[in-house]
């Protein structure tokens, strides 16, 4: 119902510390031939022959890993928090679930946008459309990853909640067939395959999150 501001401010220094290794990753990326056509958080096919797919996607994987970690499960905490004083007056209403969704989306955007801005500032972008589409995909993928980790936390298996999005990201980054499917376009259209793929994952994740939310005891 109400934000826990003191909690948020307490966490800020730790957030800053967690951000440092990611800033090193970004510094390395921008200093070593950054991709001029693909957003750094987006999966890409190897640019050079013989290059490992996983190595070439290390920034995309870092984007997902740090993006998920830096949230520090705050959205999950918000969703699970049930102050009896307000819960008894409101019940476990849908508004909280919707606000949780908005928090996840806003956090992912707040994580993605500065990096997109840095890319525009530091890199001579070849293909503006592809860069924006890549940023959109990275932002959406991160949102889905956060909701999947939330499923693990709410279902009492936090490790699985983190493992599943990590495996999904690794599959997109390192398995050629999966990556081709993800980065290809829907036959007969100009729509990238990641749009329906992420839409489907979003629906599945949202449905599971909603079911767990409504079935979870307020203990």
């Amino acid at each position: 119902m109400r934000p826990s501001s003191s909690h948020t401010f307490h966490a800020l220094p730790y957030h800053a510390v967690l951000l440092i290794p990611y800033l090193f990753v970004l510094a390395w990326y921008f200093n070593h031939e950054p991709d001029t056509g693909t957003f750094l958080g987006m999966f890409r096919a190897p640019r050079f022959a013989g290059e490992s797919m996983l190595a070439d996607n290390s920034t995309a994987l870092s984007f997902m890993v740090f993006g998920t970690a830096l949230a520090l499960e705050r959205p999950t905490e918000y969703l699970r928090r049930a102050d009896p004083m307000s819960a008894i007056r409101m019940g476990r209403d849908r508004r909280r679930l919707l606000r949780y969704g908005a928090i996840v989306v806003a956090y992912s955007a707040a994580f993605t946008l500065p990096q997109l801005a840095a890319t525009f500032l530091l890199v001579k972008v070849d293909d503006m459309g592809a860069m924006l589409a890549g940023a959109c995909c990275a932002w959406w993928s991160l949102s889905v990853a956060l909701t999947v980790t939330n499923i693990g936390c709410m279902a009492g298996n936090r490790a699985a909640g983190y493992l599943v999005p990590l495996l999904m990201a690794a599959a997109c980054a390192g398995i050629p067939g999966v990556q081709r499917m993800f980065l290809g376009v829907v036959p007969g259209t100009q729509v990238p395959c990641w749009v329906p793929a992420l839409a489907l994952l979003t629906c599945i994740s949202a449905a599971i999150n909603a079911a767990l939310y409504h079935h979870l005891d307020i203990i």
Partner: protein, 211 residues
Amino acid sequence: MNVRIHALTKVIRRKTVLDRVEAEFEPGVIYGVTGANGSGKTMLLRAICGFIRPTSGYVSIDDRPVEFNRRLPERIGIIIETPGFANHRTAWQNLTDLAEINGDFDEAETIRLLTLFELVEHRDDKVRSFSMGMRQKLAIVQALMEHQRIILLDEPTNGLDRYAVHAFMEEMRRQREQGRTILIASHHEMEITEIVDRMCVMDQGRLTMDG
């Protein structure tokens, strides 16, 4: 309002926290619920509110089953564990925020309760400056301010000084006269004996009622 517990069982991670609890709580009576820590007192109050999904059995209020995790049509005033106030808002703002949810704010009653618990002069202070006892008093005020029909209080005298405990006892008697159904859970049996009409004892999830 009549609260009935029908063979209520709750198992959490293979541990039976409520074990076939049967009870009936009538209006105009103060019930005390005692028992050691972890005996199931708080879980019983949560079950009455619909905060937990029973493994079997159910709770009914005036013969209507309480639905799990749903807003209750009946007004329940409650304190369970640490009261979660917004620290950056004043005591008064916290109370009005909560009252706005039900859309029924009785300013005169709220001021009466704040005065009773010696908080009226601190009503414009931010809750972050409150001591534990002051927070507890504020929690009692929020539990009573909307003329709730059922009052569930878990360890309500935690952190209260002698004057506040006395004020609390007097207020409970007043609420009883108004026909409220009152449950007070405490592991300090002696502390609540003075005001309760009937005492219930929780032991390993089982409830026995005296008298």
